[in-house]
């Protein structure tokens, strides 16, 4: 057996999986708090990539260096996406807070279709080339077969982001309010927590993570279009369900498992079946563990 090839695939799988994980976190956090599957989440990711694309274009013209441009573009993407997530919740979901559960779901699908087509109309339906901003690091040369410089940055950024998220949820006031709201919304209100603000914060945090993922993916694949949000969203949603929806470590685990399964399947069998492996795995795991890898079965008292 060719271990080098296997290792190559594993590295690539982890890189891919960590990006799925970043997007999956947004799905799982929102679901944890308001039991809504935010189908428009993938679109926020796509919009993050587009904002970065536009800002990059402008900044490159004015002659800045690659890494500065990428940082500024990412910053712009994050701010824009945060505003998008906040507004999306306010317009599409908040008015339906007390409606039957199906209504916000339909609203989510509507918001997703609207955002996708909106970008398609004002930008273009075609693929746009995303400039290569990160030049290869010299020290990565010996292992460039396994991990490119972009991959390294992706791994560092996703790790740092996830640690920051953990700290935020565990130790900050907002994080405590989020956990309380997730575990018992009525009691959270009776403890003096402004639940509306917590929900807004959750959407903002999820959107920030998605935008970061959008910028990272765009600089890895080198191209973007208005439909990337749909595919990535579906994959990340799969990752979230795989890990146990509503469970934050589960989203990360689900993302990694999905990324690795995809690259292994594509590498050993056929890349044409990449998606089949992803969704096949989902079916398999949900058959064996219906609540996902780390999800807890919901016990219903009768």
């Amino acid at each position: 057996m060719d271990f080098e090839y296997l290792f190559e695939l594993l590295c690539s799988g982890v890189v891919k999986g960590s990006i799925y994980a970043l997007i999956a976190l947004g799905y799982t956090m929102v679901y944890g708090i308001i039991q809504l599957i935010n189908f428009a989440h993938g679109e926020v990711y796509m919009i993050g990539a587009f904002v970065a694309f536009i800002v990059t274009g402008v900044l490159t013209l004015s002659g800045h260096s690659g890494l500065t441009v990428l940082l500024l573009a990412a910053l712009a993407a994050v701010i824009y996406a945060a505003a998008y997530g906040y507004t999306l919740e306010k317009i599409a979901y908040r008015p339906l807070r007390n409606a039957p559960r199906l209504s916000p779901l339909i609203s989510a699908i509507g918001a997703s279709i609207f955002l996708m087509n909106f970008v398609q109309l004002v930008q273009t339906p075609d693929f746009l080339p995303f400039p290569e901003l990160i030049s290869d690091f010299d020290f990565m040369e010996p292992i460039s077969r396994y991990l490119s410089s972009v991959d390294l940055i992706i791994l560092i950024v996703t790790t740092v982001t996830m640690i920051a998220l953990t700290v935020l949820i565990k130790y900050t006031r907002t994080g405590k309010a989020m956990r309380a709201t997730q575990q018992d919304m009525i009691m959270a209100r009776l403890s003096g927590i402004n639940v509306d603000r917590v929900i807004s914060a959750t959407f903002i945090i999820g959107s920030v993570l998605a935008a970061i993922a959008g910028v990272l993916i765009a600089s890895r694949t080198g191209q973007i279009n208005s439909a990337i949000g749909f595919t990535a969203g579906l994959k990340a949603f799969t990752a979230a369900v795989l890990g146990g929806i509503g469970n934050i470590p589960g989203a990360v685990l689900g993302g990694l498992v999905l990324g690795i399964a995809e690259t292994l399947g594509a590498g050993y069998i056929s890349s044409a079946y990449e998606d089949v492996f992803a969704f096949g795995l989902l079916v398999l795991i949900l058959t064996l563990r219906p609540s996902g890898l780390l999800g807890k079965a919901v016990k219903q008292k009768v």
Binding site: K176, D184, I186
Partner: protein
């Protein structure tokens, strides 16, 4: 201290409260007794701003509060221990207590209040790092009451604190409620199905039937009232 004037509260088209009025004076323990579905919990939720009454008004220290949201009402010093205790299941005992003090900023005061809670219920102190969801019913009730006290309420609302607990624990819980009222001058509004125990520690009581207050009197009078005896005391 608290004045509820003719409130009507509805869930959709179902009217749960029809013209409910009651008064709670500073320093009292007032109990609201009644059968299942009479509207007792709805009364508490209306006071706390979780459900807004459709009509009528609620005054706290003379100021209307029935249009305020729940967070604001907590900050005024009204705190509820809801029915079923509502412990945050995945948070530790300590974290649950800290959530009770969510609106407070005085770290030192919170710390000493938590120590005080552990003195009052030593079992909670021994389990401070255990997840709230793993406690027994009685322990959860102790935690729920302690958590509410951490907001330093001037008016404590308790919804069925005896529900599902063993008789010995019930006795202990009622004794604690009496103590909280006597020692820290916290006004208590106690909703109970266990009318006998509730009336024993209360100063005054209200009886509720089908969303209407049907009786109001001093607790000892209600305990000897023939109708109350027959309907709620099982005598």
């Amino acid at each position: 201290m608290l004045e509820v004037r003719n409130i009507q509260t509805c869930y959709g088209n179902i009217q749960a409260l029809k013209n409910v009025s009651l008064t709670i004076n500073e320093g009292e323990i007032v109990t609201l007794i009644g059968a299942n579905g009479a509207g007792k919990s709805t009364t508490l939720m209306s006071i706390c701003g979780v459900i807004s009454p459709r009509q009528g008004e609620i005054l706290f220290r003379g100021e209307p509060i029935h249009r305020l949201n729940a967070e604001k009402i907590v900050s005024l010093g009204i705190c509820q221990v809801p029915e079923g205790r509502h412990i945050f299941p995945q948070m530790s005992v300590l974290e649950n207590l800290e959530m009770g003090a969510f609106l407070r900023k005085d770290k030192g005061g919170i710390k000493s209040d938590i120590e005080h809670a552990f003195e009052r219920f030593p079992i909670l102190g021994r389990r401070r790092h255990q997840a709230g969801g793993t406690l027994s019913g009685g322990e959860q009730q102790m935690l729920a009451i302690s958590r509410a006290l951490l907001s330093r309420p001037s008016l404590l609302l308790l919804d069925e604190p005896s529900l599902g607990l063993a008789p010995l624990i019930i006795k202990q819980i009622f004794e604690i409620i009496r103590k909280i009222n006597a020692e820290s001058n916290t006004t208590v509004f106690l909703v109970e199905q266990n009318a006998n125990q509730a009336l024993k520690i209360a100063h005054r009581g209200y009886v509720m039937e089908n969303g209407v207050i049907t009786l109001e009197d001093r607790a000892e009078n209600l305990l000897s009232n023939e109708d109350v005896k027959k309907a709620y005391l099982g005598m």
